[in-house]
């Protein structure tokens, strides 16, 4: 008798709640945006956040609602932007140029002087809190690989000497690595660039000479002797302007006394 009673109560309760749910589903139904669904299917699904939205679905929603600019998906590139433009029925302005991350430093424990030996949490920003890192150069890579751990495509590698480099083929341009790097030594550059400056030091040449064997010593050979290399020395550091013709960059790289102009396709 008791059991029957309990059974009845549960049954009635179940029915009531079920009806309620069905009603709620009807009443509060979200109108599915078909275009958002279509766009989501086109987006690469990397959920990397390069577009600035929380994941691909966030961007798809914003695009279909007309709230976001097309072409922000760096992994998708030009192909994706063209497809999205078609769905939205807008003109395709093309994706921005494909950018990849690059670590602007080749200094390591063998090539760069150290002030002390860091012991502590294996995170670049943790090491950076103590005297901006153990290296005498305060602009370079700290080699603790924080960027590696946030990279969604495992595009960043560290060799046995500590050098941290990005595989430009695997990099989808999400910029996550640039956000965790305390010295901002990992930055984006156009993927088409054949060369890059592998140094980030704004110390004057004589200082760099004393502490690092592979740093830019601001000798200006690249800038003066190879005007078509794209190199300009600003704040004791050579910088390449990728918008300029770079016909002489290979020659400049060969002439650089510290060999800190390196091939970007590592």
């Amino acid at each position: 008798m008791n059991i029957l009673f309990a059974f009845l109560i549960i049954a009635v309760l179940g029915l009531a709640l079920g009806l309620g749910l069905a009603f709620a589903a009807k009443k509060f139904a979200v109108e599915k945006d078909e275009r958002a669904e279509q766009i989501l299917a086109i987006l690469p699904g990397a959920n990397c956040g390069a577009c600035g939205y929380p994941g691909c679905s966030g961007y798809a929603g914003a695009l279909s609602g007309g709230k976001a600019q097309n072409g922000l998906c760096s992994p998708g590139g030009a192909k994706t932007s063209a497809l999205v433009a078609k769905i939205l029925g807008i003109a395709d302005e093309g994706a921005g140029e494909r950018m990849v991350a690059f670590v602007h430093c080749r200094g390591n424990h063998e090539l760069t002087k150290r002030d002390f030996q860091y012991e502590g949490i294996e995170e670049c920003s943790a090491a950076h809190m103590l005297f901006q890192g153990e290296s005498s150069c305060k602009y370079g890579c700290l080699h603790l690989g924080s960027c590696m751990r946030v990279c969604p495509t495992n595009a960043i590698h560290r060799d046995e000497k500590g050098n941290v480099t990005v595989d430009p083929e695997a990099c989808i341009g999400c910029k996550k690595c640039t956000l965790v790097c305390p010295t901002k030594v990992i930055r984006m550059l156009p993927a088409r660039g054949s060369h890059a400056i592998a140094c980030n030091s704004r110390d004057p040449g004589p200082v760099v000479r004393k502490i690092c064997q592979v740093g830019c010593i601001a000798c200006k050979i690249c800038e003066k002797k190879f005007p078509d290399s794209g190199c300009t020395v600003i704040n004791f550091l050579s910088e390449i302007d990728y918008a300029k013709p770079m016909t002489q960059i290979a020659d400049a790289a060969a002439a650089c006394p510290t060999k800190c102009i390196v091939e970007a396709k590592q």
Partner: protein, 436 residues
């Protein structure tokens, strides 16, 4: 035996190592051949330089001007010449501009005769404290005039003076209480005149019985309305929050200041500096620094001109006995490890320690075994292990929601962790990255 009061939540009992230096009377460090005087020796905005390279300066002259309300003036410790203004790195990794000063070889020091100050009003006293560049000498270096500026309408119930010196090794405040008792007490009475408290309490840990007795004797002789409270030894009792709990049984709520519970807290070193500022019009240009640690040949308490380099202090203490595992500026729990003996002593430098491996041992870290010892040790009632894990996963938002910003960086969690996790280092990292 009666149980002495202390704070209730958390805390640890590291070996206090005070016996190494607590019998050493304060000695004066001879004027070094060069001083490096940073413009940022305090919490808040750096002072702006008032002099340039090549200028002649006299002892006590203001050479750096407070650049905002929370900032402090910087004064020249000697007669001499400014030979440079350059960037230096301090023990706490702060990069700041500093004057390089060559003291006049024949007559480097100034003179500050005592003068009457009884007739001065509280406002005038406060103005002098500010003008003399006084900041908290306990280590946090908060500008003292800010602390003593009680907003209108607020009343101060208790002035609590910190004679705890809870960090191991440090004995500078202990020696001041013993050797400069009257001046410390007079300094406290000046603060009392500025802030008008209903009661005045000095809290001293019971490992300084001689100081407690001396303070009581002098208070009786001078007839000051000050109570000395002997406190049970427990780290970090010298923190404002723990000290107020131990002495007047008040809790400062999260994110609030002592003044919010009607208290003003300052330490004995600062009281002494206030006495000198007011009674002698002497700016804060020197301080007592403990030189200690197993690797130091002689242990000392030295009265040092600000801007003296650590190397000068170590040399005066007979040099190193052997290569230390690390140098620490301040105490071993909250101090800063440094590697360069050219860093200068500043207003907040309470000690220079050369430590062997043992006290700051670096055993290999293992994963957290969830023993909960860090939670039990945290005086702020935080959950260091959880916070650490969140910070490892870069989830600063949730760490903030778990009151990460309440962390005092006292080091109790790291000290008690059997897995040797660098917990406090993680807290510092999380606080820094989470604030952005």
């Amino acid at each position: 035996m009666e149980r002495l009061p202390t704070f209730s939540k958390g805390g640890v009992h590291p070996d206090d190592k005070k016996a190494l230096s607590n019998n050493q009377a304060i000695q004066r460090l001879p004027v070094p051949s060069e001083l490096v005087l940073p413009l940022s020796q305090h919490l808040g905005a750096p002072a702006s330089p008032l002099k340039q390279k090549g200028d002649m300066v006299v002892a006590g002259e203001k050479i750096g001007k407070a650049s905002s309300f929370i900032s402090a003036d910087v004064h020249c410790p000697v007669n001499g010449t400014i030979t440079d203004l350059r960037k230096v790195v301090l023990a706490n990794s702060v990069v700041t501009d500093a004057f390089v000063i060559t003291p006049d070889a024949s007559n480097p020091l100034g003179e500050w005769p005592e003068q009457p100050y009884d007739a001065l009003s509280p406002e005038e006293l406060l103005a002098i404290v500010k003008d003399m560049g006084v900041v908290g000498t306990g280590g946090a270096t908060f500008p003292t005039h800010v602390k003593l500026s009680v907003p209108k309408g607020r009343t101060v119930d208790a002035l609590v003076v910190n004679g705890v010196e809870c960090e191991p090794y440090l004995t500078a405040d202990h020696r001041l209480m013993l050797e400069e008792t009257e001046r410390v007490l007079r300094g406290i009475m000046i603060v009392a005149k500025i802030t008008g408290p209903k009661r005045i309490i000095i809290g001293v840990e019971n490992n300084k019985k001689d100081a407690i007795a001396m303070l009581r004797q002098e208070i009786a002789r001078l007839g000051f309305p000050i109570t000395v409270m002997a406190l049970r030894v427990k780290y970090p009792q010298g923190d404002e929050k723990q000290l107020l709990k131990a002495t007047i049984k008040r809790e400062i709520p999260s994110g609030k200041l002592p003044l919010d519970v009607g208290a003003v807290v300052l330490n004995v070193g600062t009281s002494f500096a206030i006495y000198e500022a007011v009674a002698m019009r002497k700016p804060l240009i020197d301080r007592v620094v403990t030189i200690s640690g197993e690797a130091m040949k002689e242990k000392k308490n030295l009265r040092v001109l600000l801007g003296s380099k650590v190397a000068d202090l170590i040399a005066f203490a007979g040099g190193l006995d052997h290569e230390p595992d690390k140098f620490i500026s301040g105490g071993p729990m909250m101090g800063f490890a440094f590697h360069d003996d050219q860093i200068p002593v500043i207003k907040g430098t309470s000690g220079i320690l050369a430590l062997d491996k043992e006290p700051s041992a670096k055993a290999p870290t293992t994963p957290c075994i969830s023993c909960g010892r860090c939670v039990a040790a945290c005086p702020m009632g935080l959950q260091p292990t959880k916070l650490y894990r969140l910070i490892e996963h870069r989830d600063y938002e949730r760490a903030m929601a778990m009151n990460l910003m309440d962390c005092k960086e006292c080091g109790c969690c790291s000290y008690s962790c059997p897995a040797h996790l660098p917990l406090v280092h993680g807290m510092k990292l999380g606080k820094r990255l989470g604030r952005k």
